[in-house]
């Protein structure tokens, strides 16, 4: 029996769902392994019966409705996978948490904003138990296929436990620090093939911190390159502000 899989989106850009579609030709191979039974963005079908072997969930939780729906999905699913930075770390959405919720509503929507249901954005794991994480903004489609294949076959997938610099060096990229740019590579979990530095940009840390990162050494290196601590912290927080605020 192929595992029954549902895909769900909460507060996000739905780019991780799109990354799944962008597997294209390989997507047909994945569909040979799984039975995709529910996905609002792509299908009109609804899972019947509602029980799922695997729920793939993107987005962070930022409304009471999100919270209620996620709990219902958790009850239906044997394995719940958080896909993408919003689901994994809270992602960009958590940047609003540094303001009061009344304040952001007023700033963006004016007085009419008070009708909106908005609560501080959280990663899925702050609301329900999460079995697996697929990091990145967006997710890497090759990593997605590997993880889905592993889960479908009953294996536990493992993510790289080393920093991005390892992948970047393998690609023989010129280190962006030498170009005076900021880069989160030394403290960020690898797995994306160091795509941003490969295209000449610094890593923005969208995959979250690697296990046991040496943050202090990284900050010192940046300071030596003439970058201010403030700006460095701003980059840390683009995708990881939820974790920072928890530790503050």
């Amino acid at each position: 029996m192929k595992p029954r899989v549902g895909m769900f989106a909460f507060t996000c850009c739905e780019g991780c769902g799109l990354a799944v579609i962008e597997c294209e030709n390989e997507l047909l191979d994945v569909l040979n392994l799984i039975n995709l039974v529910e996905w609002r963005e792509g299908l009109s079908e609804k899972a019947d019966p509602p029980e799922l072997d695997i729920a793939l969930v993107e987005g962070s939780i930022s409304t009471h409705t999100d919270e209620r729906k996620l709990k219902a999905i958790r009850e239906r699913a044997k394995v719940l996978v958080a896909i993408g930075a919003c689901a994994h770390t809270g992602g960009l959405n958590a940047l609003k948490n540094r303001y009061g919720m009344q304040e952001v509503k007023q700033m963006v929507y004016g007085d009419a904003g008070q009708q909106f249901d908005t609560i501080p954005a959280r990663p899925l794991s702050a609301v329900v138990p999460v079995d697996l994480f697929l990091p990145g903004c967006p997710i890497d489609r090759n990593e997605f296929m590997t993880v889905v294949r592993d889960v479908a076959l009953g294996k536990t997938p493992s993510l790289p436990s080393y920093p991005l610099c390892v992948e970047c060096k393998k690609k023989e990229n010129v280190c962006v620090f030498f170009k005076g740019m900021n880069c989160m590579g030394p403290v960020t979990r690898a797995g994306c093939g160091a795509i941003c530095p490969t295209f000449g940009d610094g890593c923005e840390g969208c995959r979250g911190l690697v296990d046991n990162p040496n943050e202090q050494a990284h900050k010192e290196t940046l300071a030596e390159a003439g970058l201010s601590l403030d700006e460095v912290l701003k980059h840390f927080d683009m995708f990881n502000s939820y974790q920072e605020d928890q530790h503050a």
Partner: protein
Amino acid sequence: MSDVKIHVEDVTRVEGHGDVILDVQSGEIKELKLAITESPRFFEAFLLGRKWYDAAHITCRICGICSIGHTSASLQAMENALGVQISEQTLLLRRLAFAGETLQSHYLHAFYLVAPDLLGVPSVLPLVASHPDVVKMALRLKRLGNDICCTVAGRHIHACAMKVPAFPKSPKAEDLLALKQRLIASVPDLHATVALLKTLSLPAFEREMEFTALHHPDEYALYRGEVIRSTVTGDTAIPDYKNQVREFVVPHSHAKQVASAAGPYMVGALARFNINYDQLRPESKEVAEALGLQPICYNPFMNTIAQVVECVECTLDGIEFIDRLVDGDMLHDEDMTVKVKAGRGVGAADVPRGTLFHEYAIDDEGTIVDCNLIIPTGQNLNNIEHDMRALVPQILDQPQEKIALTLEMLVRAYDPCISCATHLLKVEFV
């Protein structure tokens, strides 16, 4: 007349969360709305206080499907604020990436989101078995759009290599020429798409309406324009966009609605086609004619056909841009230096779903102190509701499920991007 009560919760095969609600009592519409239920994200709040160089990489995360579109509007706005001029190489590379995104977005909409309705199935999945050649063709065409973005900008979703004032790393000529060969090879697939569409029929529905799109004197405006052009209110300078795009609040929706001085209006492929038809290539016009699309077309369901016409245009554009980049010996690394100064700038791009505006103000240290973002789908929501009001009385004699399906098809025809619309529309009280 019988009563009709419809509540389609979370319309499927659209980007983001929205409900269609219809309540008809004794033939009279009591309630009819497209309620946007997507969670707001407050980008305009958390952009404040960040540096100028973060704007494109943060705002591209508003939307996965039109990520390069947001990047393009953001870069143009920030470059206008900083007084930066870009090179011809950068302009051509951006237009090439933009064409790639337009192709992938239009193919996604036509094949994955709309075609199942026309073929009478609930999604693309049954088509894998019943129409394997069509599905494989769709995958092939869409992959080409993505690969153009990946080659030029690193990836399609949240491009890493699109920055102020240039690309930090230029693509290789050989990689672009390989894409050119694939673009040429995709033309028969485009003709097969046209042949397939000829066998399918879209709902016949017309409502006289206002269309708005960017216009550029020298090109079919996609990546950039020189003015905002409306079929009713005429031309508006891009920095004066608020004269055309007037936002107001509706209580049932997490997205604000928009009207011009004349009322609701439509943006997107059909609006561009209607306004800039004369600038299309002969090959694109031929496809339009073959599919029964002529300006001015007032049937919003024909938006999907206009998208297919634009796929022809973008395919041929892509070939032309690659030729100009390679033959013009332009693919070298460019200076990334930017002189930071205080300023305000507006950027506009006609992204797959219509005209997108970004506006930023920065201080003399390059910190963002004000921003405003206006999304295509936000502009269309008001028009969709007006369409539904005109359409419902024409289909009221049909079974309830058929009415619901037709209304969902109408919403889908606009190819709405609800995540975008919700997260960004900002209201200003006059």
